[in-house]
């Protein structure tokens, strides 16, 4: 029962991640891609938590915590970079 639950949730998260990746590739604007990237970050976090509980290894959860911190910082950096790029394009006009 426990294994069935964890396996089912794991494959559901894989399906959600595929949906988010398709949205990242197909998103018409940069804001759409950032939204999908935010979702994908959360899904990968949940996937790592599921794997850690399934294997009984706490190291997966350490990796998940560091991944969350760096995903958040990466989102901040990407938004800042795109903003500076847009401001530079506006000054050129």
């Amino acid at each position: 029962m426990r294994q069935i639950l964890l396996d089912g949730m794991q494959w559901f998260l894989v399906a959600c991640a595929v949906g988010a990746v398709i949205r990242i590739l197909a998103g018409p604007s940069a804001a759409d891609r950032l939204v999908a990237l935010n979702v994908l970050s959360g899904i990968v976090l949940a996937f790592l938590a599921i794997r850690g509980v399934m294997e009984g290894q706490a190291i997966y959860l350490d990796v998940a915590l560091v991944y969350d911190i760096f995903g958040f910082l990466g989102l901040l950096a990407i938004a800042r970079f795109l903003k500076e790029k847009a401001m530079g394009a506006g000054e050129d006009e």
Binding site: L5, C16, V35, I43, L61, D68, F72, L82, G90
Partner: protein, 133 residues
């Protein structure tokens, strides 16, 4: 006996995660503009992922895993909505108009980065310095 109770708790949490995650992914495809998509994806990103954490916490095999899950949940409660806020501010500052059902005449002002300069559409009936924003 205890294992049956924890598995039932995990089943409830995972069912909730499946429902909210499916709704979030569907909303990511069906909604018309980045703001509405961000609403759907915040639903997915916060409720579904947090339900997965709660179910994993019920099924945790040892205290080492359980305490790390609690720390992860506390950090996720801070970082998830903050990330959504960053994305929303980026979308608003980059001049994306919010979707509205019917807008034959009145168009919203566009704003760009840096400075509060507002550009109106040429056929907009609103005066230049007042209005929606």
């Amino acid at each position: 006996m205890i294992s049956i109770v924890t598995e039932l708790i995990a089943l409830a949490a995972f069912t909730s995660a499946a429902v909210f995650g499916t709704a979030g992914i569907i909303g990511l495809y069906r909604f018309p503009d980045p703001y509405a998509r961000m609403q759907a994806s915040s639903l997915c990103g916060t409720t579904a992922v947090f339900s997965v954490f709660l179910g994993s916490l019920a099924l945790a095999p040892s205290w080492a895993v359980a305490t790390r899950l609690v720390v992860l949940m506390a950090f996720f409660l801070v970082s998830g909505p903050t990330g959504g806020h960053i994305v929303a501010r980026f979308a608003w500052n980059s001049g994306i108009d919010p979707w509205r059902p019917v807008s034959p005449v009145i168009r919203p002002a566009r704003r760009r980065f840096g400075g509060g300069k507002v550009e109106r559409a040429k056929d907009s009936p609103l005066p230049p310095e007042s209005g929606i924003d």
